[in-house]
Amino acid sequence: MAVQQTQVTPLPDRRKPTDASQVYSQVVERYARLFDNPGARLRFLNNTLAKQNLRQQELRQSLKRYKFLENTPIYEWIMEARLYSSILEELRAQSVHVPTHQRARLEDVDIPLKARVVFFCQRFRHVFLTAGLVAAGVLLFGVYSLVMWSGNKVSAFFANKPETTATQPTGEKSGEPPAPNSPTSTSGLLNRYPENVWLISSSAESEEYSNGGRILRTYETTNRPRSYYLIPRNSESGGNQIRHEPIGIVYHTTENELGEFTADNNGSIQQQSTNILSFVRRQRSYHYVIDRFGRIHRMLPDNQAGNHAGHSIWADDKYIYVGLNDSFIGISFEATVTAGETVKMMTQAQVFAGKQLTDILRSKYKFADANCTTHGLISVDPTTGTIAAHYDWAKNFPFEAMGLSDKYQIKPAYITDYGFTWDETVLAKIGNELWPGALAADAEFKQRAERAHISVDALRLKLRERYKEQYARQKAMQGQPVTLH
């Protein structure tokens, strides 16, 4: 198959012919002259024109609803580019029939850049499609992640809303360094929020909730209304703002006698539950008790104080809570903590019910994750200046199973803000090993004393006195006598 040795003549002047197809014909004709062999020339013409015709039909079909586009320059541009692309395809296809020394001429003809681009796109369309799909996937994933991140941020904002209404304290006594803003900070930690849970039915005997939670009211009794100070953090002030709604949850254990949790011991288990429920009712200690079968019993209304926390301290980013009976809801699991042993204390049913109840309360009162803690992490003995006076859940509380962040990683306020510490007795009770947050908090407290050029013991004493004052003030508001323990 021979190829003519003439160059392709310049393209026709597009202004002269009135019909676009004439322009296309002229273009095809000029390239057809590259072929000297009549069969090859005929093949080139037939194939190129057939392709162009087909592509024109396809384009018309796809633009069926936008016929006006056919009269626009962009349509002509596309058609012309596709024509050149067809020519290129055909030239390349035919070049294999041409002697090697003449092949370069067919592959190296003068074709406009736009046509080469279209040809390139057509040739590598599968690669482009794959890359496009990957890019779209990445983009979608990015958008999804952004939406999720924004959603979490919005949830966090609403979760913290009650707290943000309060003013941020700034005052600091001279000579005493301000407590760092971070000891009990929950920033950067999980601030998960439960799904929306609502009450679906209520009776004198029980309440049922949308997450399957069922609260039994058989043992429900009354105590006194809640009332507590919001003590601004890092401030000398004891706080003037009084609040009557619960701010969080403290998890306890009942510490009653427990039999082996087996089927043949069923009667005994139930009897023990009945005994502890009756005891709790009389003492008005907890708001809820979850027995070993996972049944949730309400003991006190949520808007009333319970006798579950006594001498205790907890703090979130903005406020310190002292004597948590009035500010926190007490949930107690029917379980016992043996000194030095803190594992395997709950049944599966209790864990499940604990999560249900946590979600019900958090959904109802919008409790921040930061204010859901355990008795062992709040309880203090002001007479000895030690922590973990009550050591239930001082370790191994399944925060994650409750949908909460691990508070054992947080520096507790009773150490960072009040200088409470531990002794051998405390260590013996909790298995001779402190949780990471306590150790970090103690180190921070010592640095704080050093920065303030005051001995650690002197600072402890001073802050313990402050605690006592704040606790007495809290009790006085309720018209109750102050006891040290």
Binding site: P17, T18, D19, S21, Q22, S25, Q26, V28, E29, A32, R33, N37, P38, G39, A40, R41, L42, R43, L45, N46, L49, A93
Partner: protein, 343 residues
């Protein structure tokens, strides 16, 4: 049927060309084109003579190495030998085709035409392409065309070819108008009819035929001059010059009937151009190429040109020319079509 054939070397059987063949199946001739560029052509008359079987006749045929077929009590001499045999026995050759298609009045027509083709076209090795010519639509030929095309296609496929029909006029365009990128008017003036195709960049825009050709002229002249068709044909092929005044009765009659055919052809062309809406806007004049045995006599081209100029023509014509080899142009065009189909 016992048969005996002379051994011919088909054009593509020598392996010199590409694996494609072009076959012009005309009313009076069958032409095979193959080899490099399709220039290797082989021609056989599309005619036969039948004689009663006798041992002596068969011996004569064998002595003269003529191609024949015996069918019971009859013997058929066909192809180029039919003419020699006819003059030897003073017989008139018969035609398996009439007006461009299979002759329904010849019972043996189909078998004879197949025998002629078989004598020219070798069996395909691996589904090679073969393009064969068919006439265009025309007066009274439309329904026969389908039958004609199917019979030939099936037969060629039975020889192992991938057979494709090509309009005769278009084949002329393919053979002769390469330099115009296959844009122009191709006219094949054959024995049975004249075929016309108007092509734009190899795409047929208009194709038709008229049922008058060389046979019509021969027959008409024979009728009016009371001469045998063989003699008329001889006069036509040996001494006819349409550009000069006729010298005898036969020449005069030939002039008259040639004029009729040419005028009819040009008139039909005008009509078809005016009736069609398919033609693209032509930016340059179109060439006209004439081919076929009927176009061969001297002066035919001038007469045709004069007819075109006489009353004007619907499209501008750049030139009217005769095909390089009018007898093989259609076959060569078929060959080019076949080659273009090979990928």
């Amino acid at each position: 049927m016992s048969e005996e054939k002379n051994s011919t070397t088909p054009a593509a059987a020598d392996g010199s060309g590409e694996a494609a063949l072009g076959l012009d199946i005309g009313t009076s001739r069958i032409v095979l084109a193959g080899g490099p560029n399709g220039h290797k052509a082989q021609t056989q008359l599309n005619a036969f003579v039948s004689v009663p079987y006798s041992k002596m006749t068969e011996a004569i045929l064998q002595q003269n190495k003529m191609v024949y077929q015996r069918n019971g009590k009859e013997m058929f001499v066909f192809g180029n030998d039919s003419e020699r045999f006819a003059s030897f026995f003073n017989a008139v050759p018969r035609r398996p085709m009439q007006y461009g298609v299979l002759n329904a009045q010849e019972a043996m027509g189909q078998q004879i035409i197949q025998a002629i083709i078989e004598s020219m076209v070798p069996r395909a090795k691996k589904n090679e392409l073969l393009c064969f010519s068919v006439p265009g639509r025309g007066e009274g030929a439309d329904s026969n065309l389908v039958y004609h095309e199917s019979i030939l296609k099936n037969f060629l496929q039975s020889l192992g070819y991938e057979a494709k029909a090509i309009n005769e006029g278009l084949a002329v365009v393919f053979a002769e108008l390469q330099s115009e990128n296959f844009t122009g008017i191709g006219i094949s003036c054959g024995g049975g009819m004249c075929n016309v195709s108007v092509s734009f960049l190899s795409v047929p825009m208009l194709s038709f035929s008229i049922p008058k050709g060389g046979d019509y002229i021969d027959y008409s002249v024979s009728q009016v001059t009371d001469e045998s068709i063989t003699r008329v044909r001889l006069a036509k092929e040996e001494s006819l010059d349409l550009s000069r005044q006729p010298k005898d009765k036969i020449a005069s009659a030939l002039h008259i009937y040639y004029d009729e055919v040419i005028n009819l052809l040009v008139e039909k062309l005008r009509e078809e151009f005016e009736a069609t809406k398919q033609l693209p806007k032509l930016e340059r004049p179109m060439p006209i190429v004439l081919s076929g045995g009927t176009a061969k006599p001297r002066g035919f081209l001038q007469k045709f040109e004069a007819a075109i100029k006489r009353d004007g023509f619907p499209v501008p014509v750049s030139e009217v020319r005769l095909a390089g080899d009018p007898l093989t142009a259609t076959a060569r065009g078929c060959y080019i079509a076949a080659i273009s189909e090979i990928r």
